[in-house]
Symmetry: C2
Subunit: 391 residues, 2 copies
């Protein structure tokens, strides 16, 4: 449809390969696009079918005629399709709008834009942003959110030491996700809490809250106090790289970890609130396209009860051993030390994180953000900023 000829549009009522009715648009230069009758009628853009303010469908589906057929077709002004239906309803469609929904070329697919990393590439992908820039500039805010989506990890520097910074940062996106540990939580030595993160000992690689069905998408960790001597260093591993390596070297183990359910559990109390969470899910969760959508990994929160038959147990442990060896391989795992005033931000669905043991004082303020809200905000910013550039 990018030929040099002038496009003169025409529309025909025809049959698809499945012998079902469809309307075919022809651009006069050999380009064709196809629209099933039912889809077209269901997406009539007239004010009684579609809300002018929101663009949402107003048709009441229990009254919808699924078998509507056109009795008249016409191209108006070479840019609009007019259809009169057999119940006398009339529809008009902007041709450009239709082309964006062209079924010939398949519909828009979500590209997996994630870039995987290892210890070798970590310093190159580990971008930092200045707190003030993220707060003041929509462009920087968008860059940070896009970095989180692509690399799954990013540092915000020079945040100061005020304990509300995590909330303020989240407010630039939407709002914090509250959990049983509060809206924000203090990661420090707390002998009263049941969570093992609240110790000064080595904290092994894990993901947070695997025992939630709706686990937090992104973790924000604001460093307020860090021991000056050695100790307290952060460790991170890109779980997607671990899965890739496992898939390459031992496909059966990958399949085991992505299909055998594990029981994740958290039972205890925090700040007077008692909880008892259980969620069953494999270590590696794939979506229906085979993309990894979430990794669950937490020795602390893996239950001694296994929701599987005994013949799976050894196979599963063999697979876990291989996963762990890759995750802790020095070519895969990265280590760095946060400074007071840093906010480390990372994707809890893909990044395994831990911390070296320490002596003395250490305090982080943590908070969570949901991907639903991050993706929404990213789309809004992309749209606003592209309008700004275009205007």
């Amino acid at each position: 449809m990018n030929g040099s000829g002038v496009r003169r549009w025409s529309a025909t009522d025809t049959f698809g390969d499945d012998r079902r009715h469809e309307i075919q648009l022809d651009d006069g230069c050999g380009g064709r696009s196809r629209y099933p009758h039912t889809w077209l009628r269901n997406n009539c853009q007239c004010p009684s079918c579609t809300s002018a303010e929101s663009g949402f469908r107003k048709q009441v589906i229990c009254d919808f005629r699924f078998s509507s057929a056109p009795i008249r077709l016409q191209i108006i002004n070479n840019d609009t399709l007019y259809v009169k239906w057999d119940d006398s309803h009339e529809s008009t469609y902007d041709l450009q709008w239709l082309l964006e929904r062209n079924f010939n070329e398949g519909q828009e697919r979500h590209e997996n834009q994630q870039v995987k990393w290892t210890a070798e590439s970590f310093s190159a992908i580990f971008r930092s942003f200045k707190y003030e820039d993220v707060i003041k500039s929509d462009e920087t805010l968008l860059q940070w959110l896009e970095t989180l989506a692509v690399h799954g990890i990013s540092m915000i520097k020079s945040c100061g030491l005020e304990q509300y910074r995590v909330k303020e940062l989240a407010g630039r996106v939407a709002f914090l996700k509250k959990t049983q540990y509060g809206e924000t939580f203090k990661v420090e030595v707390n002998s009263d809490a049941t969570n093992l993160a609240y110790r000064s000992t080595y904290l092994q690689l894990h993901t947070d809250l695997p025992y939630y069905e709706y686990t937090p998408g992104v973790i924000l960790l604001h460093c307020i106090v860090q021991p000056e001597s050695s100790g307290g260093e952060s460790e991170v591993t890109d779980g997607l790289s671990v899965c890739d390596r496992l898939k390459e070297t031992d496909l059966d183990s990958y399949k085991t970890l992505s299909t055998v359910p594990v029981r994740w559990i958290d039972r205890g109390h925090d700040d007077g609130y008692s909880f008892h969470n259980i969620y069953e899910s494999p270590v590696i969760c794939e979506d229906s396209y085979g993309n990894i959508k979430r990794i669950n990994f937490s020795e602390h929160h893996r239950d001694s009860k296994c929701p599987v038959s005994i013949d799976k147990v050894h196979i599963w442990y063999d697979a876990l051993e291989k996963f762990v060896k890759i995750a802790y391989n020095e070519k895969i795992i990265s280590t760095f030390k946060m400074k007071p005033g840093d906010i480390l931000t990372f994707d809890n669905y893909r990044v395994l994180h831990g911390r070296k043991g320490y002596q003395g004082s250490r305090l982080l303020i943590g908070g969570y953000l949901d991907w639903d809200l991050i993706k929404s905000r990213t789309r809004v910013l992309q749209s606003q900023l592209s309008n700004k550039i275009n205007n």
Copy 2:
């Protein structure tokens, strides 16, 4: 193992069907249970392997010896298994604790306790609780939460008209789930909002926020003002019954709706907050056991863009037509009218809800609760109340 003989326990190091090492417990009356070596070592209950406070595993998985083998086995006092491992580590396990994890009998499986309903059975399953009882009595609170899990719908009566009641009620469970529509939201005529629920016209059956990956689990709707004349009646349908009927009468259509992805979208603003959500998911979402875990259904929020090839479109609309005819069948759908002071509570993963058009004033205060928090609270209450009864 319920024989009349006295059980004299013994333990043997043996091989399983998969030729992998396991320990077999024998109760002396013909009862046997089996525990793979690796699982047993990984679940050592000694203080250095398991946290005494929380019961969580303290073993650091990158240092774990996956190939540990016992060099000594002994039953102590006929109630404890003692194991000395080949790295000299010693473990003891309470026999009762082991029996609860017996791999012979398969591990605990989550029973699907949901009871499906139709118009005929609705009045029998639609339980009401008094607000004051839910607030003051843990027993009533638990009954309400169990009713929500089993029937997916329940009414709280005599809540008064104060607009903070939804928040107060949620506080008995945990806390409200905040969304782009706020922590609570007003369902009333609002010409500024983009959401079609904020009109007085007929609101067709739908689920809330299908365009979130982490959609709210339970909806709380507090009726403050309701027209006295006819209009404003609530309509509800148990989506699980709709799916059952569809599966029985047209398995292909059921499979189509449970596999073909749909693009759910919400673009607009509310109270100054702009959002642009997109989530792709079938109408019927099954878990890996084939149980229905979530139904997505909202004509308002179904995008005109389809993430599928053209050959699926007619098939999908045929299936949708069948689903809709069942959902609106008078033997399936139920209608009732909330009174000021009622809080209607229902499972947003299974119940489709709507409202008849009305004239005059109508105001509901809405809020959401997550199933993660409801299930946790239910377990805590069940445990507390059974302890109370036992003590």
